[in-house]
């Protein structure tokens, strides 16, 4: 599905991503974990062309997306759910969703398909249907996150990038969000690249993971093995209660 080789990204002189290589197979959930500033969001933004990548090979289903503008990347099948949701506050829920299909409006015969997709989103997120005429800014955090995911899905992506979907949400809502992520894969077959501060929860739903540290990949592995890795535990999962008691 996605193949990256030696991706380098800079913020001015700051070398934010150093030779990052990673891949996602079709239908896989892969998570990126790492401390703040490790380069997780930068990686997602480089893929979706929000930040230009300085160098590297980026292949989406065998086609190079390096250097393409963001709208081309979206139309090739890659959508991003940005960190902090970024819904259009004054617009209604329905309008937000429709904007997700913006690129498809131009194509002929898509109108019907877009209507169908809208219904699909409402079926998947009943809360959004209840509030379809409400301004997105008045939704709760969890609802906004659902909306942001729904909006990205309206572009019918093959690969969905999720940036910190559980950020700032109540634990019960976080559970819902992770259930949605699992359903996306099992029901829609969507391939997902997930960035998450809640590394434990992310590794539980993911198949594989990459650990980033100061812009470099230091570990790749099956999610269950990464959960057991002491480096990962120490840095990103927090210490176990037991260990605290021992001290």
């Amino acid at each position: 599905m996605l193949k990256i080789k030696n991706l380098n990204t800079y913020y001015g002189k700051v070398h934010a991503l150093k030779n990052v290589s990673l891949h996602l197979s079709k239908g896989e959930i892969v998570t990126l974990i790492g401390a703040n500033g490790a380069g997780k969001t930068t990686l997602l933004n480089s893929l979706s062309a929000i930040i230009p990548a300085a160098s590297g090979e980026l292949l989406l289903e065998g086609k190079s997306i390096a250097g393409l503008p963001a709208d081309r990347v979206v139309s090739l099948g890659l959508s991003q759910v940005p960190e902090g949701r970024q819904v259009f506050n004054p617009l209604t829920v329905e309008e937000n969703l429709e904007l997700g299909a913006y690129l498809r409006y131009r194509a002929r015969g898509q109108q019907g398909a877009i209507k169908e997709d809208l219904q699909r989103m409402f079926a998947m997120f009943p809360r959004l249907e209840e509030r379809r005429r409400q301004a997105a800014g008045t939704l709760s955090g969890g609802e906004q996150q659902m909306l942001a995911i729904g909006r990205a899905l309206m572009a019918r992506p093959k690969l969905l990038l999720l940036d910190e979907p559980s950020m700032g949400l109540a634990p019960l809502v976080v559970q819902d969000i992770f259930k949605v992520i699992q359903r996306l894969r099992s029901e829609e077959g969507t391939t997902i690249l997930l960035v998450e501060q809640n590394a434990r929860a992310a590794l539980k739903v993911a198949d594989r993971g990459y650990v980033l540290e100061t812009g470099k990949v230091i570990l790749e592995g099956v999610a269950s093995e990464l959960l057991e890795n002491k480096d990962v535990q120490r840095a990103y999962l927090g210490r176990d209660k037991k260990e605290i008691w021992e001290r």
């Binding site: 080789k5 030779n19 290589s21 990459y210 540290e213 790749e220 093995e225 057991e228 890795n229 002491k230």
Partner: protein, 433 residues
């Protein structure tokens, strides 16, 4: 034909190379950060992990040798704090000190899985009863096969090495179906079975997994016909992981290397240049999944060649030929690695003994024997037989405790051993393997 891990064992080459590159870069970033020895070696070579952009860039990296392991004895090469290590093994070193290797919890899991792959390839499944006739202890062999069998779900008999008659009794009574040992021990068992008048067909044995020492196709045929089993070879070394690097499938045309965990290269042992695929040379291995003890370009000193052609069994991983020898002077005696320098050191340590010695390795029947011939000097000339015997016993005892292999020590006349022009004359290997 069962395949344990089809996703990885049958991965298309292009995908495998992507995975290898990802894991290689991650491994290099980790060792550069965590292992002083690697950091220094990379600096000396003027290279940083970021310079590795493709698998072919691997050749820019410095080699790791047994000497490096010796210099960093015991824990210097570990990439994690010792508290995260849950297992320690070791193997013989070139001189004196052994080399120490460690495993994290994850390493043990990965190791078991790699062993399960080649055991499955050899024909072992959850219905099998596996008798392990490797020595448990510091060597990695027995434990590796033990874990692999358990993971497959086979019934493991942790028999340990030696005690041939008991091995045979257990083999009969417990209905062992898969046997794990050195190939030469398999021949010993076959001989003893014949001597005891047992019909090999009355046993339940169907497969043998033999490793720990080089062996020939002729020996395979002998074992297969005498025991009525399928005899398979596997390869590993404790510095890299132990058993689990590679193993044969039923096609028996080379051992499949688990390439998602190891990158194999073949170099010319003299010039250290990487040789093109198919060439015969020294095997160099880089680990991709190890946490506690990662290895970057480890010179195995084993001579072999690699075949990248697709195998009939469906696996896409590269195959290595049976090892054809060593690029150093290490001897494998009864499956134990022995360096002449270790023996030299023992002889030096014993007062008055000048190192004019010769090692004679032979195979009596099926068991390897080691004889050490020492030239008599004034210092170790004894009129009394008793004193001479005490001296020889002392040497034998020290050699045994150092090597873990018994040796017969013999005194010979002064100047009767040809003076060394090369290392070869120190060692006479009469075995025809």
């Amino acid at each position: 034909m069962q395949i344990w891990d089809p996703d990885y064992e049958c991965m298309p080459r292009e995908e495998m190379e992507q995975l290898q590159l990802e894991r290689l870069q991650a491994t290099l970033n980790r060792v550069y950060k965590n292992v002083t020895c690697y950091r220094n070696k990379f600096k000396e070579a003027g290279i940083v992990p970021e310079d590795v952009l493709s698998l072919s860039d691997l050749s820019k990296l410095p080699f790791t040798t047994k000497e490096d392991l010796r210099l960093n004895y015991p824990y210097g090469m570990f990439a994690v704090p010792l508290r995260e290590v849950v297992r320690i093994h070791s193997s013989s070193g070139t001189t004196g000190k052994p080399t120490v290797v460690g495993y994290t919890k994850n390493d043990l899991k990965v190791w078991s899985n790699l062993v399960a792959r080649f055991m499955t390839a050899a024909g072992v499944n959850s219905d099998d009863v596996v008798q392990i006739a490797f020595g448990y202890g510091l060597f990695t062999g027995a434990f590796g096969l033990h874990y692999g069998s358990e993971l497959i779900g086979a019934s493991v008999i942790p028999m340990g090495a030696g005690n041939t008659e008991k091995q045979i009794m257990i083999m009969q009574d417990y209905r062992t179906t898969a046997m794990v040992s050195t190939p030469s021990y398999a021949v010993t068992i076959a001989e003893r079975i014949e001597k005891m008048g047992i019909d090999p067909k009355s046993l339940c044995l169907k497969v043998g997994l033999f490793g720990g020492e080089p062996w020939s196709e002729a020996m395979r045929r002998e074992i297969e016909s005498r025991l009525g089993i399928s005899a398979t070879d596997n390869y590993g070394l404790s510095e890299v992981i132990g058993p689990g690097v590679a193993g044969e499938c039923p096609c028996k045309k080379g051992m499949h290397i688990s390439e998602d965990s190891f990158i194999a290269e073949i170099i010319d042992p003299d010039t250290c240049q990487v040789l093109p695929p198919g060439s015969v040379g020294e095997l160099v291995l880089t680990s991709l999944t190890k946490e506690a003890f990662p290895m970057v370009r480890y010179r195995t000193r084993d001579i072999t060649s690699l075949d990248y052609a697709k195998c009939d069994c469906g696996r896409t991983t590269v195959r290595m030929k049976k090892t054809m020898g060593r690029s150093d002077d290490m001897l494998i005696i009864k499956g134990v690695n022995v360096y002449p320098s270790q023996i030299e050191e023992v002889l030096f340590a014993i007062e008055g003994c000048e190192p004019h010695y010769q090692l004679v390795v032979d195979r009596k029947g099926t068991m390897d024997t080691l004889e050490i011939r020492i030239e008599v000097t004034e210092n170790i000339f004894f009129d009394e037989m008793k004193m001479q015997k005490a001296f020889l016993d002392n040497v034998e005892r020290r050699i045994d405790s150092m090597l873990g292999v018994g040796a017969a020590v013999k005194l010979v006349e002064p100047n009767s051993i040809p003076r060394a022009e090369g290392k070869a004359s120190r060692v006479i290997d009469k075995r025809k393997i």
